[in-house]
Symmetry: C2
Subunit: 332 residues, 2 copies
C-alpha cells in the first residue's frame, strides 16, 4: 500500500494504541495523528519501560491519553467501543528484568493481554488488532535467515510470555474470527527509543554514551543482527492494520542487511562523527540468554503487502543521533 492510501485509510479511523507512550508506539501515534486519525493512547506508564511523556510532546492536544494498566478490565471495557483498529504495543521487553522478576513480566505481558483481548472480543469483535511480537520468541536461531516456520524456543521468561501473548492473538482469530495479526519485530531503533540503559535495545545505551562522551561497550561483537528503523516498523504496522490479506497471520519484519555488532558500532561512531567503544567479553548473566546471530527472512510480509524498508542503516542512525542530540536530557 502506498503512503497516500494509508493516510486516507487512517484519516477517518478511530484507533487505539496500547503502549503509545513508548518508543515504537509514540512514533506510530505521530504518524496516525498526522494522517488525521482519532487516536486513543492507553499506557500504564510503567517505570523502566519505553514509556516517556516526552515522546508525545507537541501533539498532546491532538489525541487522548489514558494512563491505565491493561489488567484493569473495568476501566478498559468502556474505552473500546467505536474503535476500528487496535495497535497492541503494550508490554515490557527487558530480558534481564524478566529473569529477576518473572511475575512482574507475567503481569505486563500475559495477564494484561488476556484482559485486553477478552474486552475486544466482547465490545469490538470486528476491530483489527495488530500485535507487536518479537524475534525473541525464536531463541537461538538454528540457522539464518529465520522465517516464520522456525521453531519457537524462547530463552528467557520475557520470550516465553511473548509467545503466550502472540498465541492468544492467533487463537482469537482462529476461534472467534477476530481480525488479529502479529508482527515479529527485530531490533528496532530510532528517535524516542529508550537510551537510558539497555532494557529496550543495546543501541540505546550506545547512542546515549556517544552523546555523553562516554566509551560504550560492545559485548562479543561478532554476532550478526538486522535492524529496522522505526519509521519502517511503523509503516509495517500501519499496513498490517489496513490490509485484509494479513489477518490471522504472523509475519517477521526485518530491515537492513545483517551486520556484526562491531561493524554496527563503527557505523554509529562514523555517522555521529564522534564516540568510542570497547569490545568486551559477554557478562555471564547476559551470555546465558544471548541468542548469537539473528536476521529475519521477512519475504512473506514483503510479498503479500509490498512493504519494504525505506531507510538505510546510515540514514536511520543519522536521524537517530540527530534526534537525541537535540533532546537527550528528556531521555537520560
Amino acid at each position: 500500500m502506498s503512503p497516500d492510501s494509508l493516510v486516507s485509510f487512517y484519516a477517518s479511523s478511530k484507533v487505539i494504541v496500547t503502549g503509545g507512550l513508548g518508543f515504537i508506539g509514540s512514533n506510530l501515534v505521530r504518524r496516525l495523528v498526522e494522517s488525521g486519525a482519532d487516536v486513543l493512547v492507553i499506557d500504564a506508564n510503567i517505570p523502566n519501560t519505553g514509556a516517556n511523556a516526552a515522546n508525545l510532546r507537541g501533539i498532546e492536544d491532538r489525541l487522548r491519553v489514558k494512563i491505565l494498566d491493561l489488567r484493569d478490565a473495568e476501566e478498559i471495557a468502556p474505552l473500546l467501543p467505536e474503535h476500528q483498529v487496535v495497535f497492541n504495543l503494550a508490554g515490557t521487553v527487558s530480558h534481564l528484568d524478566s529473569m529477576t522478576n518473572p511475575l512482574c513480566d507475567m503481569d505486563a505481558n500475559v495477564h494484561g493481554q488476556i484482559v485486553l483481548l477478552e474486552a475486544c472480543r466482547r465490545h469490538i469483535p470486528k476491530a483489527r488488532i495488530i500485535f507487536a511480537s518479537t524475534r525473541q520468541i525464536y531463541g537461538r536461531p538454528v540457522s539464518c535467515p529465520v522465517d516464520e516456520s522456525h521453531p519457537i524456543r524462547p530463552i528467557d521468561v520475557n520470550g516465553i510470555h511473548k509467545v503466550a501473548a502472540e498465541s492468544y492473538h492467533t487463537l482469537y482469530h482462529q476461534v472467534y474470527g477476530m481480525p488479529t495479526v502479529s508482527l515479529r519485530l527485530t531490533n528496532t531503533y530510532g528517535p524516542r527509543m529508550r537510551v537510558k540503559d539497555a532494557r529496550q535495545t543495546f543501541l540505546g545505551i550506545w547512542v546515549s554514551s556517544i552523546l555523553q562522551n562516554k566509551i560504550f561497550e560492545v559485548w562479543g561483537g561478532h554476532q550478526k543482527r538486522d535492524l529496522t528503523y522505526v519509521d519502517d516498523a511503523v509503516e509495517a504496522l500501519l499496513i498490517a492494520g489496513a490490509c485484509p490479506a494479513v489477518q490471522g497471520c504472523v509475519f517477521n519484519i526485518g530491515g537492513s542487511l545483517p551486520i556484526t555488532l562491531t561493524s554496527l558500532a563503527e557505523c554509529l561512531v562514523s555517522v555521529a562523527g564522534t564516540g568510542a567503544f570497547a569490545i568486551k567479553e559477554f557478562p555471564p548473566e547476559r551470555l546465558r540468554i544471548d541468542i548469537g546471530d539473528y536476521f529475519a527472512d521477512d519475504r512473506k510480509f514483503r510479498q503479500l503487502t509490498g512493504w519494504a524498508p525505506r531507510f538505510t542503516l546510515e540514514d536511520g542512525l543519522t536521524r537517530t543521533i540527530e534526534y537525541f542530540r537535540d533532546c537527550l536530557r528528556d531521555y537520560v
Copy 2:
C-alpha cells in the same frame, strides 16, 4: 529401570507431588508411598479439577497433605527444603473452561508454576522436577505419529498456558542448571480419573455413563487417539525422576496402539459387559478446539530409559471399570 530399582530409589527419598489429590497425582502418590518414600502432597483442591479426597483414601496417615495454592509463595517456600524430587502435576486441563475463563486458567497454570519454580530455585535448586506436560501443546497434528520436534501450536488457552509452563521448566534447566524434565502425556485414563464430566478426559464421562446405565455420546468417532493407562504414566514419571539422562529434556509419552473413538467406545462397552453409545456430530463449541487425530511417537523416551507401557487397552479399561464399579459414588 526395573520396578525394583525404582522402589529402592524412592524408598529413601523425600518427594513432593503437586496436584497429588488429582487423578495421575494420587496414583503416583500411592506408588511412592508403597515404595517407602516420604511424600508431601501440595494441592489447591480446586473445584472442577481432578482433585478428590477419595483418591488418597486409606493412605492418609502415611503421607502429608497440604491444601495450598501454588501462587502462595510465602506458604510454599518453607515446605520445600530437604525434598529431593518434585513431581509437578498441579494444574487445570479443561479446554472449554480455559476459553470461558482464561484468567482463571492463567492463575492455575502459569502464575502458580512461576511461583513454584522460583521457590525451588531459591530453596532446593538441586531437586529433580518432573513436569506433567501434555500433547495438547501440539494442537492439530500436521501428521501422526507426533514426535517432540512437531510444531507447538496450541488451539486453546489451556494449551497456550501449558506451553508456557513447560517452557519455564526447560528454561530453568538451561539458565540455572536445575534438573527439570517434562513429559508430554497423551490421553491418560484409569482408576481415580474424573468421571463426573469431560473436563479431564472424554473417557471419564463414558465410564460413569456406562455404570449409571446411561447412553454416552461419541463426538465424531473417526478420530484416532492413543491412550496411556495411568500405571504406565506413573511408571514413566517415576523413571523420569530417577534417571539422570533425561534431565533438561522433554519427551512424549504414548501408550496403546492408535484407535478410533468409535472402536474405543466399542471396546469399553465390551469389557464392561454393558453400555450403549450414540455417535453425534461435534457440538460447535467443541469442534473449534478439536485436534483431529493424535498419537505419539515416544521412541525417544523408550530408547533412553527402557520404559514401555505394560498394560494393553483391554487390561486398562477392565481395571478402570472394576475400580469405578466399586466406588462410583465418590466420583459423581
